[in-house]
């Protein structure tokens, strides 16, 4: 699909390319495959349709006739006029941005340094970054609360301290895929030559990292960043135990217990944010190959 081919249907072209070389039969796909995929699509899409339908059920009163009109966008109007919704969304966005910044500042120099200077340490660092696979979020937050609520490090009781521990937990959650993204990114560039070239031109370590390494890893880092964003925005367990209903996940949970139609609207918005983050990952390019699905999510 490289050249301009306005007449050729892209999907058909792809089909032709996929077809076995000897049979030039143009098939419309195997029947069993259609059946399987249609059932799958139904399963995936019906909950979204139901949520949409629910979110439109809130009635709005016609100011002239006094009648109730539905479907309406009333639930969305209510949500967007709810300062708590805006606050929760902004808070989670802030936490996500800080998490991404800390995670990158921690992992890029570490992965760079280990590849360049301490290759024997690489398996150890890798193992540490994979640890969150074994520690479910509920266990992590359990340990964090017990560690940071008692002496000598009782910092959870202050808002700033609780936020700091929350970010710390999210950075840990981001370790597996962020480190993998950074490390595969580093593997694809000639680290030693780039570093030596920069050094011979007089650059120090911070300058090398900032002006040479970071730009070369851009698409890998952006993928990791958007994945982190998607996970942090919807996260419930850690957020709820550390800072209560302030973040987006716990806010939605509370809303779900108290209101009828607004939760449906907010759930769809949440789904939209996840979509947007995933599309951004596709747009910035695959940094680290396919099948790199994270297991440590906000489940």
């Amino acid at each position: 699909m490289s050249g301009p081919a306005p007449v050729v249907d892209a999907a058909r072209l792809a089909d032709d390319l996929d077809a076995p070389p000897r049979g030039r039969r143009r098939e419309r796909g195997a029947l069993w495959a259609w059946v399987v995929v249609i059932i799958a699509i139904t399963y995936f899409i019906v909950p979204l349709i139901s949520t949409l339908e629910f979110s439109l059920r809130a009635a709005v009163k016609d100011p002239v006739t006094g009648e109730f009109i539905r479907p309406s966008l009333q639930a969305y109007t209510l949500v967007f006029n709810d300062p708590k919704f805006i606050d929760a969304l902004l808070y989670s966005f802030r936490m996500a941005l800080v998490t991404i910044a800390v995670s990158l500042l921690l992992l890029v120099p570490t992965a760079f340094w280990v590849r360049l200077k301490l290759p024997r340490l690489r398996p150890v660092v890798e193992l540490v970054t994979l640890m969150p696979f074994v520690i479910p979020p509920v266990i992590l937050v359990f340990g964090l609360i017990r560690t940071y609520s008692g002496q000598p490090f009782a910092i959870i009781s202050t808002p700033l301290g609780a936020d700091a521990v929350l970010v710390g937990a999210y950075v840990v959650l981001s370790f597996p895929y962020m480190y993998r993204a950074v490390d595969t990114g580093l593997a694809s560039i000639d680290l030693r030559s780039l570093t030596e070239a920069a050094q011979s031109m007089g650059a120090g370590w911070p300058r090398i990292l900032w002006s040479v390494i970071f730009p070369n890893l851009r698409s890998a880092l952006l993928s990791g960043a958007f994945l982190t964003l998607a996970i942090v925005i919807g996260e419930y367990t850690i957020a709820n135990f550390l800072v209560g209903t302030k973040p987006f996940g716990p806010y939605l949970s509370l809303l779900g217990q108290n209101k009828a139609y607004e939760p449906a609207a907010v759930s769809l918005i949440s789904f939209g944010i996840t979509w947007a983050a995933m599309l951004m990952i596709l747009i910035v390019g695959r940094g680290g190959g396919r099948g790199r699905a994270p297991v440590t999510g906000a489940r």
Binding site: T110, P136, G143, V171, Q199, S267, G291, R299
Partner: protein, 299 residues
């Protein structure tokens, strides 16, 4: 320092590198962070699990034999196993349909992108979406009742707030994860293997049974185990749906964090350790099988 440090880092070019090196300082921030937000909290739980009233003891682990805790673990294991095996088999079918079914390229690409989104769409909004679908007042529940006269809640005795209900919801993130991991594996099956088999007189069925499935089996089994861990650690979805009415290990630990429902802090720590051990075993098995899978599928 800069130039000297570079030459010392080149393997084979380091006659004097036995001297003490300050290179390890570069990884101190990473390890300090990992200790503060991962190892220290986990150590706290480990130590706590072996203590009771300030004394070292194994009583907490013996206490795991308690009927309530056993039920919680059993429910968790059943839920995770059902959704792992079910998600594994159905996810494999969907992946096979996408790769081998000669479906339109756009549909295949769309499904894969959607899988990326859905594997990250979990927790509170997912739970709510299913409440709107097959909850007691859900859209599908009502439609089935009005048009087919089947009330799945009152007549069929279905409850979303049961293990079966949770399993249906968990599939929403289990299936996509299976699809994302298994699609590249199926794509890695070389066309010449199939052609060689068919030229030697094998039927497509024989090719699948004797060649393709044995090659894919380590990946399939490994991913099913990964799915087990994925469901086993999930807390938010189950908590939002059941509110703790069905004892499931991560949910029980959640309530233990809040208010010591087990009436014994040490028992809570031991239960958390039990979860970490089960997660550790499943992730360990997964990486073992994955290493075995890589032998064939190097594409």
């Amino acid at each position: 320092m800069t130039v000297k440090a570079t030459t010392a880092g080149i393997p084979g070019a380091s006659p004097a590198s036995r001297r003490f090196s300050w290179n390890w300082l570069g990884v101190v921030p990473f390890f300090a962070f990992a200790i503060a937000f991962m190892f220290l909290p986990i150590t706290f739980l480990v130590v706590g699990s072996f203590q009771s009233a300030g004394q070292w003891t194994l009583a907490n682990y013996i206490g795991l034999g308690d009927a309530y805790i056993q039920t919680a673990y059993r429910n968790s294991i059943i839920l995770s196993a059902i959704t792992a095996i079910g998600g594994g088999i159905l996810g494999f079918l969907i992946a096979a349909a996408l790769v081998l079914g000669r479906l339109p390229r756009a549909l295949t690409a769309g499904m894969l992108t959607f899988s990326g989104v859905a594997s990250n769409f979990a927790g509170v909004p997912l739970a709510l979406a299913f409440v709107f679908t097959i909850g007691n007042n859900g859209l599908l529940t009502k439609l089935l009742d009005e048009h087919l006269g089947i009330n799945i809640v009152t007549q069929a005795g279905f409850s979303l707030y049961s293990i079966l209900g949770l399993a249906i919801v968990y599939m929403y993130f289990q299936l996509p994860l299976m699809i994302l991991i298994i699609v590249p594996a199926i794509e890695g099956l070389r066309k010449d293997w199939r052609e060689a088999a068919l030229n030697l007189g094998a039927t497509p069925r024989q090719y699948w049974r004797s060649i393709a499935l044995p090659i894919l089996m380590p990946t399939i089994l490994g991913t099913i185990i990964l799915l087990f861990g994925n469901a086993f650690g999930a807390q938010a979805t189950a908590f939002q749906l059941t509110g703790g009415t069905i004892p499931i290990a991560p949910v029980v630990i959640g309530t233990q964090i809040r208010g010591d429902v087990l009436r014994n802090p040490g028992l809570g720590y031991a239960m958390a350790m039990g979860m970490v051990v089960i997660m550790g075993i499943s992730i360990g098995l997964y990486s073992l099988l994955q290493r075995r899978a890589e032998r064939w599928l190097r594409s």
